[in-house]
C-alpha cells in the first residue's frame, strides 16, 4: 500500500479500534494513538518528499497511485502529493492530534464523538491527497457531513440551528461545486479524446473559454463558501461558536483550508483564463471578507465569535492572495493557510480550556486571568501575537508575503484593494490587544476565579504542540517555502501561460 493511502486507512482503522473498545477511557487513548501514528506518518511523508526532491525527482506529483474505479466515466482512485498537499497534510495531522487532546475530558457519548471527529479527519486527509476530481469531491462531502452531528450533539448555545445552517450552506456550496466539476469533466477533452477527472491531465489542456466563464465562478464560489467568502461566510461565526472545542479547532484550522486549497488547485489551476478575467469580482468580495471579518471581531463579546470573525478575515486573505495569481502571493497564501490553521486551532483550544474553567466565554465577565492561570494566559498571548502578525511568529511571514505579492501588480485596482486589505492588520491588532487587555490583564472580575487550576498535562500537550509549530514557521519560514516552492512552479507556469500583465 502506498504511503498516501495510509493517510485514509489509518483513520479508518482507528475508528474500527474505537468501535471495538469496551472501556470509555480506552476510547480516547485509541484515538490519540491512531492520530499520533498519523502525525508520525506525516513527518515521514515530509522526509520522503524532501529526499525525493533532493534526489532530483521533478515530477509534478510524487507518490502517485492510480486505480481505475468506474471505467465508464473514467473515474479513478488517484492520489498524489506535491509540496503544497504535503504541507496541508502535515497541518491537518498536527491539528487533529492537538484536537484529540483538547477533547480529552469529553464524557457524553465519548465513542461517538471520537468516531465522528476522526471521520471528519478522514475526509480532510482524503481531500488533500486526491488528484482525481471525483475522489476529491467525495472526500469533501465526507468531511462536511459529520459536522452536523458533532455540532448538533456536543455543541453549545443554539447548536441545532448552527449545525443545520452550517451543513446546509456547505452542502449548498458542494452543489455548485458538483456542477462545476461536471462542467470541467465534459470539457476535459476538447480534441475528442477520452474525458477525464484527473487534475494533472486536465491541466495539460485548455478548457474552452466559453465554458470557463460558466464553470469558474461555480467552482470558485463552491470552494469559496468553505473558505468564508463574503457574503457566504455566515455559517462560520454561528458554526464555530456552537461547536465543541476540538471541532472548532478542526473546522477553522483545517476544514476551511479545504476551501482555499480547492479554489486554487481546481478553480484557478484548471481555468486560469477565466480566473484572470473574472478575478476582479472575487478580489472585491475577498477584500470585503478581510476587512468586514476584522471589524466584526471588534464588536463581538463572545470569545468564540471574536475568533470566528477573525477566521473569516484571515481565510478571506487566503482567497485574496490566491486571486493575485503570482508566485509570491500564492506562496503567502499557502503559508497563511498553514499559519492560520495552527494559530486558530490554538485559539479555539485555549478558549475551550478557559471555558472549561470559567464557564463563560463573555470577555467582560472575565478579567485578570494572567494571575490565576499563567500558562494558559501566556499561550493566549502568543496566539494573539501570531494572529496580529508579530515578527518571529507565523502570521507575520504569511501576511508580509501576501501583501508583497499583491503589490507586485502595478495597476490602480490591485493597489487600492491591497491597501484596503492591509488595513485589516491594524484592525486585527485592535481586537486582539483589546481581548488580551480585558481578559488577561485587567482587574479580577470574579472572585470565584481566584482558585482556578492551570493547564493539565493533556492541555499542555495540545497547546505546546501547536505553539512550537507556529514559532517554527515564524523563525524558519524557508523550510516551508522550500517545500512548497518547487511545486508552485508548474502551477505558476500554467497560470501565466497567456499572461496579459
Amino acid at each position: 500500500m502506498d504511503i498516501l493511502t495510509l493517510f485514509v486507512v489509518i483513520p479508518v482503522l482507528t475508528m474500527t479500534g474505537i468501535v471495538l473498545t469496551k472501556e470509555m477511557r480506552n476510547v480516547r487513548i485509541t484515538a490519540a494513538i491512531g492520530m499520533g501514528i498519523q502525525l508520525l506518518l506525516s513527518a515521514v511523508l515530509i522526509y520522503l518528499y524532501i529526499s525525493a526532491r533532493h534526489a532530483g525527482n521533478t515530477a509534478e506529483m510524487l507518490f502517485v497511485k492510480d486505480i481505475v474505479w468506474f471505467k465508464t466515466f473514467n473515474i479513478h482512485y488517484a492520489v498524489g502529493a506535491d509540496g503544497i498537499s504535503v504541507a496541508m497534510i502535515a497541518l491537518a495531522s498536527i491539528v487533529v492530534f492537538a484536537g484529540i487532546f483538547a477533547s480529552w475530558e469529553m464524557e457524553f457519548l465519548t465513542k461517538e464523538f471520537f468516531i465522528s471527529l476522526i471521520l471528519l479527519a478522514t475526509g480532510v486527509f482524503g481531500f488533500f491527497i486526491s488528484i482525481d476530481l471525483f475522489t476529491m469531491f467525495l472526500f469533501y462531502e465526507l468531511a462536511v457531513i459529520p459536522m452536523y452531528l458533532l455540532i448538533g450533539i456536543w455543541g453549545s448555545g443554539p447548536k441545532e440551528y448552527s449545525a443545520m445552517k452550517l451543513t446546509l450552506m456547505l452542502m449548498g456550496a458542494s452543489a455548485l461545486l458538483l456542477v462545476g466539476i461536471l462542467g470541467i469533466y465534459f470539457n476535459s477533452a476538447p480534441d475528442g479524446g477520452p474525458l477525464t477527472f484527473n487534475i494533472l491531465e486536465i491541466s495539460k489542456i485548455t478548457i474552452p473559454l466559453s465554458s470557463q466563464y460558466l464553470f469558474f465562478p461555480l467552482t470558485f464560489v463552491g470552494f469559496g463558501v468553505l473558505g468564508a467568502l463574503f457574503p457566504f461566510h455566515t455559517w462560520s461565526p454561528d458554526g464555530h461558536s456552537s461547536a465543541p472545542t476540538a471541532v472548532s479547532m478542526l473546522h477553522a484550522g483545517v476544514l476551511m483550508k479545504l476551501g482555499g486549497y480547492g479554489a486554487f488547485r481546481v478553480a484557478i489551476f484548471l481555468m486560469p483564463e477565466a480566473a484572470r478575467e473574472l478575478s476582479w469580482i472575487f478580489i472585491i468580495l475577498t477584500s470585503i471578507s478581510v476587512v468586514y471579518g476584522a471589524f466584526g471581531a471588534i464588536v463581538q463579546k463572545d470569545l468564540k465569535y471574536i475568533n470566528a470573525y477573525s477566521s473569516v478575515s484571515h481565510c478571506g486573505l487566503v482567497l485574496f492572495a490566491i486571486l493575485m495569481m503570482n508566485k509570491t502571493a500564492l506562496t503567502g497564501a499557502i503559508i497563511q493557510m498553514i499559519s492560520h490553521g495552527l494559530m486558530t486551532a490554538l485559539f479555539f483550544a485555549l478558549i475551550g480550556m478557559l471555558y472549561g474553567r470559567t464557564h463563560t466565554r463573555m470577555i467582560n465577565e472575565m478579567g485578570g486571568l494572567m494571575k490565576m492561570i499563567p500558562f494558559l494566559s501566556v499561550c493566549y498571548v502568543i496566539a494573539g501575537l501570531a494572529s496580529l502578525g508579530l515578527p518571529g511568529l507565523s502570521g507575520f511571514v504569511a501576511e508580509v508575503t501576501i501583501f508583497v505579492g499583491a503589490f507586485q501588480h502595478p495597476d490602480l485596482f490591485h493597489r487600492i484593494v491591497t491597501i484596503v486589505a492591509v488595513t485589516s492588520i491594524v484592525i486585527t491588532a485592535v481586537y486582539i490587544l483589546r481581548v488580551i487587555a480585558i481578559l488577561l490583564l485587567g482587574p479580577t472580575a470574579n472572585e470565584h476565579y481566584e482558585h482556578l487550576a492551570d493547564a493539565k498535562w493533556y492541555e499542555k500537550v495540545s497547546a505546546v504542540t501547536l505553539i512550537s509549530f507556529v514559532a517554527l514557521i515564524g523563525l524558519a519560514p524557508f523550510w516551508l517555502s522550500s517545500v512548497i516552492g518547487v511545486s508552485l512552479q508548474p502551477i505558476i507556469n500554467k497560470i501565466l501561460a497567456f499572461n496579459p500583465f
Binding site: T72, I145, I153, L168, G183
Partner: protein
C-alpha cells in the same frame, strides 16, 4: 416450444410456479404446518432469486410479443432482490395474530404482481405491456387494503384501484391513438412507422401521463401520500420501491426503443416534470410528521432525480437509472425496515416518536441514518454514487441547469432527512421508544440493506455490468 423457450421465460415461469406452490400448500397443509408457510415461501423465493442470476439465453417469443435481453434480465433480477428483502421484512408483521389466516394470500398476491412486472418489463408489444401492467397493479390494491378493519388501509386500497383504473384508461387512450396512426402494437414496428404527426404526439403525451401516475411524477402524484400512509409498512415499501422501479424500467425501455424519434418532445416534457417532481416532492416532505408519508414524498422527489437519467436518452443515462434503482432499493428498504421494526415493536410511526431513539436503540438509529444519507446522496454510501451518475448522465447532454436544480434539491432533501437524524440523535425525550430486540428476519432484511448500501457504491464492477447491457444514443 423447446426447452430454450422455457429458459427465456425463466423468471416469469418460476414465479408463477412459486405462487402456485404456496397456494397448494395453503390448501393441503394442516393448520400446524401452515405456521411455517412464510418460511417455505421465502426459501422458495430466495431460490428463484439465486437462479435468476445464472446465465440465461436471450431472445424473443410469441412472435416478438415477449422479448428478453440482457438489460431486461438485470432489471428483473434487481426487482427480485428487492422483493426478497420486502418479503423477509414482512415476516414479523405476518406472524402477528390478526394476520395469521391470510399469510399465504400475502405471498400469492405479492408474487403475482411480480410476475406482472416481469412480463411488463419483457414486453415487445403494447398489449403484453398492458397485461403485465394490470397484473402488477390490481393485486397491489388488495395488498394495500390488507389491514381490512383499518379505515385508512381500506381507503388506501380503494384509492389505489381507482387511480390505477384511471391511469390505465388514460394510457390505453394514448395507445389507441398510436395504434390508429401506425397500425401496429409491436414496439419495433411502431418505432419504424412513427412520423411525428400531431395525433402521435398526443398519443405519446397520454402514454406519458399514464406512466407518470405509476411512477408518481408531479402533477400525477396526489394519490401517493394517502396510499402510502394507509397501507401496511411492508406494502408501502413494496409500492415505493419495487412497483415504482418496475414502472421506471419499462418507461425507459419504451422511451428509448419506441419513441426515440420524439426525443425533442419528451425531453421538454421530462425537463418540466422533473423540476416539478423534485421540488414539490421535497417541499411537501418537509412538513410531514408521519414517517410513511414522509418517505412517500421523499420517494416522489427521488422519482424526479431518476428522470435526470432518462432525459438524455443516452446509454450512460439508462445505466445510471438502473443502477440508481438498485441503490434506491437498498436505501429505501433500509429506511422502511427500521420504520417497520419500530412500528411492529411499539406501533409508533411519527418523527416525534423517534426522539432520543439513539439512546435506546443505537443500531436501528445508525441504520436509519445510513439509509437516509444514502437517499440524500452523502458519501461514502451508495446513494452518492447513484446520484452522481444520474447527474453526470444529464450533464453529458448539456442539461447543466437541470443538474444544478437537482443538486440544490438534494440540499432541501438533506434538510428534512437531517430532521429525522436530529430527532434520533439530538432531541431529548421523556418517553422514548423502549429498548427492544428485533427478531431474526428483521435483522436479516436490514443486514442485506446495509450491506447493499455500502457495497453497491464502492463496487465499480456492478455499474460496469449494467452499463455494458444498456443501450441508448
Amino acid at each position: 416450444m423447446s426447452l430454450d423457450n422455457f429458459l427465456i421465460m425463466r423468471h416469469e415461469l418460476l414465479l408463477t410456479v412459486a405462487a402456485l406452490l404456496v397456494l397448494i400448500a395453503e390448501i393441503s397443509w394442516n393448520p400446524e404446518k401452515k405456521r411455517s408457510i412464510s418460511q417455505f415461501a421465502i426459501i422458495l423465493f430466495s431460490l428463484i432469486t439465486v437462479i435468476g442470476f445464472f446465465p440465461s439465453p436471450t431472445g424473443s417469443l410469441f412472435g416478438g410479443m415477449y422479448e428478453s435481453t440482457g438489460i431486461r434480465l438485470i432489471m428483473k433480477n434487481i426487482l427480485n432482490v428487492g422483493a426478497l428483502i420486502v418479503l423477509i421484512q414482512s415476516v414479523t408483521w405476518l406472524n402477528k395474530e390478526e394476520n395469521h389466516d391470510k399469510t399465504s394470500e400475502y405471498f400469492i398476491l405479492l408474487i403475482s404482481t411480480l410476475v406482472g412486472m416481469n412480463f411488463m418489463i419483457s414486453s415487445g408489444h403494447f398489449l403484453m405491456f398492458y397485461l403485465g401492467l394490470e397484473l402488477a397493479t390490481i393485486p397491489i390494491a388488495a395488498l394495500a387494503a390488507f389491514d381490512r378493519y383499518n379505515n385508512k388501509s381500506a381507503e388506501a386500497g380503494i384509492k389505489l384501484i381507482l387511480i390505477s383504473a384511471l391511469s390505465s384508461g388514460i394510457l390505453l387512450y394514448g395507445l389507441s391513438m398510436i395504434y390508429g396512426t401506425t397500425g401496429s402494437f409491436y414496439f419495433s414496428e411502431v418505432a419504424n412507422r412513427f412520423e411525428i404527426s400531431n395525433l402521435q404526439v398526443l398519443g405519446f403525451i397520454f402514454f406519458f401521463a399514464g406512466m407518470a401516475f405509476k411512477i408518481s411524477i408531479v402533477p400525477f402524484h396526489l394519490w401517493t401520500a394517502d396510499v402510502y400512509e394507509g397501507s401496511p409498512v411492508s406494502i408501502t415499501a413494496y409500492l415505493s420501491v419495487i412497483s415504482k422501479g418496475a414502472a421506471v424500467f419499462i418507461f425507459i425501455i419504451v422511451l428509448f426503443t419506441v419513441f426515440p424519434v420524439l426525443i425533442k418532445t419528451w425531453q421538454k416534457v421530462i425537463y418540466v416534470t422533473a423540476v416539478l417532481t423534485m421540488t414539490i416532492g421535497n417541499l411537501f416532505a418537509i412538513r410531514q410528521q408521519n414517517l410513511k408519508r414522509f418517505l412517500a414524498f421523499s420517494s416522489i422527489s427521488q422519482a424526479g432525480y431518476i428522470l435526470l437519467g432518462v432525459i438524455g436518452g443516452n446509454q450512460t443515462g439508462m445505466a445510471s437509472v438502473v443502477y440508481y434503482i438498485l441503490v434506491y432499493i437498498f436505501s429505501n428498504l433500509g429506511a422502511f425496515g427500521v420504520v417497520a421494526a419500530i412500528s411492529n415493536a411499539s406501533g409508533k410511526e411519527n418523527i416525534d416518536d423517534y426522539n432520543g431513539l439513539y439512546m435506546t436503540n443505537p443500531r436501528l438509529s445508525l441504520v436509519m441514518t445510513l439509509a437516509l444519507f444514502s437517499l440524500a446522496g452523502i458519501p461514502p454510501v451508495a446513494g452518492f454514487f447513484g446520484k452522481f451518475f444520474l447527474f453526470t448522465a444529464a450533464a453529458e447532454k448539456g442539461f447543466y441547469l437541470l443538474v444544478l436544480i437537482a443538486v440544490l434539491n438534494t440540499i432541501i432533501s438533506l434538510y428534512y432527512y437531517l430532521l429525522v437524524v436530529k430527532a434520533m440523535f439530538i432531541n431529548k425525550n421523556e418517553t422514548p421508544v423502549g429498548k427492544f430486540r428485533s427478531d431474526f428476519p428483521t435483522l436479516l432484511a436490514i443486514g442485506i440493506c446495509v450491506a447493499g448500501i455500502f457495497f453497491t457504491g464502492f463496487a465499480g464492477i456492478i455499474f460496469e455490468i449494467i452499463k455494458d447491457f444498456s443501450f441508448g444514443a
